[in-house]
């Protein structure tokens, strides 16, 4: 079933002024429950604008958006728009700059607190969220301003996870982190996805990360959806992606070159693991062929 569905959704900024800007135009899309979706697109293609519709932060200037089957801006649901924000958690870019409480615990508890949960329930959720992002118990009573950059970011992500959203959207969660930090956070998100069966949308500029973690890819281009399909099928359109200022993972480019040089290699290679397997296969094939 589709957890998020849009029908001809458009968003125009500063409508009716000389600065009018169509940021999202006529997008119809269905995102299945439990998917891990990578969202890519050049700067200004409308990624951030689109995802802010999914949790009701922005209201479409035309078109509809359904979350869990309900039109969130329909008259009868309008006043419950805050509930949509609890169902669809959104982690902004550089979320560590939004921390404000005295302790890590209180900060993570802000979202659950706004949901009106009991103290006990809040406590379990905070501990659970801290565990998901790999923060040790001892940090709970520390001031978030005393932590390192990477730890602050994990506190911020935990603050959204603690709302137990059905859909978790992350806007470039690894910007500015070192390679190890990147892998760690993305690994934790993957684990969260697998354990909770929730839907994940990951906005990223790294094709390598998308290939490694996502199952499907949503490609935005000039305010519209260029493609929404499996990783294999999206990255097989590498020429078109390159033309719109995107790219494919480095190994994919190598394999493309190989095939354009006349070798018959698979074109479904996006990660180092896949590349390794494919080369080994071809290599053994060649050797066996040689012996035969």
């Amino acid at each position: 079933m589709a957890i998020i569905k849009t029908e001809h959704l458009s968003h125009v900024y500063s409508e009716g002024t000389p600065f009018e800007k169509v940021a999202v135009g006529d997008v119809s899309l269905e995102i299945e429950q439990g998917a891990f979706v990578g969202v890519i697109g050049h700067t200004g293609s409308g990624k951030s604008t689109l995802i802010q519709h999914f949790n009701g932060l922005l209201k479409p200037t035309s078109g509809k958006i359904m979350v869990d089957g309900k039109d969130i801006w329909a008259e009868e649901n309008k006043k419950n728009i805050r509930n949509v924000r609890f169902q669809v958690g959104l982690v902004f870019q550089y979320p560590e700059y939004q921390l404000f409480e005295e302790t890590v615990y209180k900060d993570i508890a802000f979202g659950p607190g706004n949901m009106g949960l009991s103290e006990e329930e809040i406590h379990t959720r905070v501990s659970e969220a801290m565990e998901f992002v790999g923060l040790k118990e001892k940090y709970a009573q520390k001031s978030p301003f005393d932590l390192s950059g990477g730890q602050k970011r994990r506190v911020a992500i935990a603050g959204v996870i603690a709302m137990r959203p059905k859909v978790l959207i992350l806007d470039e969660p690894t910007a500015g982190l070192d390679p190890k930090g990147r892998d760690k956070i993305l690994g934790q998100i993957r684990e969260y996805h697998q354990q909770t069966q929730s839907t994940i949308l990951l906005v990223s500029h790294s094709m390598e990360d998308i290939a490694k973690y996502a199952g499907k890819v949503l490609v935005m281009n000039h305010a519209g959806v260029f493609d929404y399909d499996t990783v294999e099928r999206v990255f097989s359109r590498s020429a078109e992606l390159t033309r719109m200022g995107l790219s494919v993972p480095q190994v994919s480019r190598v394999f493309e070159r190989l095939s354009s040089e006349g070798l018959s290699v698979s074109q479904n290679v996006y990660t180092v693991e896949q590349a390794q397997r494919e080369i080994l296969r071809l290599y053994t094939q060649k050797k066996e062929g040689f012996h035969a």
């Binding site: 500063s14 802010q52 932060l57 979320p95």
Partner: protein, 270 residues
């Protein structure tokens, strides 16, 4: 949406008034205020009134926009004018129970209304025709002599520049912080005063923290670019008075002279 805000009310254009040196415009605005104070005869008020109306025509700023500045305090002005009409004693014109309307009352009210309206309109013409950056440049240049009495003119100018530079950045930042807190269920639109004040805290603290971080990085970047205060500093952009400015000054001087002559020789009703 916070991002759509335009800073100040500058209305770009190419008129003579737009092209004048901001320093001259600032000085002339001050002189205009003084002139309004100096008017001593009823007929004398015609001078600043005509002067401003002509100036607005030349600037090509729509009259409607110039009047906009008065709208919010219009009820107050009218109310005060009415009080003045009834409370100022003098030769009664109309008597209505214990309420009297006197000629003096009407004149005082009229004078007050004209003074307030033209004070506001006159100074808003300055802001409509001069960009915030030009205005701050002008202030810096005009205050320069105060350096001699140890007034920190350079620091003040630097603060104005940096503040102007960071206003759009901070608007965007606040917008982002608000969206992010709303995504965590913060409710900012409803509730009484108490609730609203409480809702400001999750925004203010991140805003402060980021402001301090920015300040630290900016200070570092400035030092890396050999910043060492105002001493020995030159400026790339230099302001120049042109013939236009002197014409403007001459017009103003002429008007002022007329006001003074009228003060001395024209009859007053009061």
């Amino acid at each position: 949406m916070l991002r759509d805000i335009t800073i100040g009310q500058y209305f770009p254009g190419k008129s003579v008034i737009h092209r004048m040196d901001p320093r001259m415009k600032l000085i002339l605005s001050l002189v205009y205020i003084v002139m309004l104070f100096c008017v001593g005869t009823e007929i004398g008020f015609l001078v600043p009134i005509v002067f401003l109306i002509v100036a607005i025509q030349i600037s090509k700023i729509p009259m409607k926009m110039v009047l906009k500045g008065i709208k919010p305090i219009l009820p107050l002005i009218i109310f005060t004018a009415v009080l003045n009409i009834f409370f100022v004693s003098g030769t009664p014109l109309v008597q209505w129970g214990f309420l009297t309307i006197s000629l003096e009352g009407i004149l005082v009210a009229l004078k007050m209304v004209i003074r307030i309206i033209f004070l506001i309109m006159g100074t808003s013409l300055l802001t409509y025709t001069t960009s915030p950056i030009a205005l701050t440049d002008a202030i810096e240049q005009l205050l320069k002599p105060l350096n001699k009495i140890k007034f920190p003119v350079h620091e003040m100018a630097m603060m104005m520049t940096i503040a102007l530079r960071f206003i759009p950045t901070l608007i965007e930042e606040t917008d982002k912080i608000m969206s992010a807190q709303k995504a965590r269920g913060a409710d900012m639109e409803s509730g009484g005063l108490r609730q609203r004040i409480k809702a400001m805290i999750p925004i203010l603290i991140p805003l402060f923290v980021s402001a301090f971080r920015r300040a630290e990085e900016l200070a570092l970047a400035m030092e890396c670019r050999c910043y060492r205060g105002g001493e020995g500093r030159t400026r790339m952009r230099q302001l120049h008075y042109s013939r236009l400015d002197w014409y403007g000054a001459a017009c103003m001087a002429l008007c002022f002279a007329v006001v003074i002559v009228l003060n001395l020789f024209a009859p007053t009703l009061l």
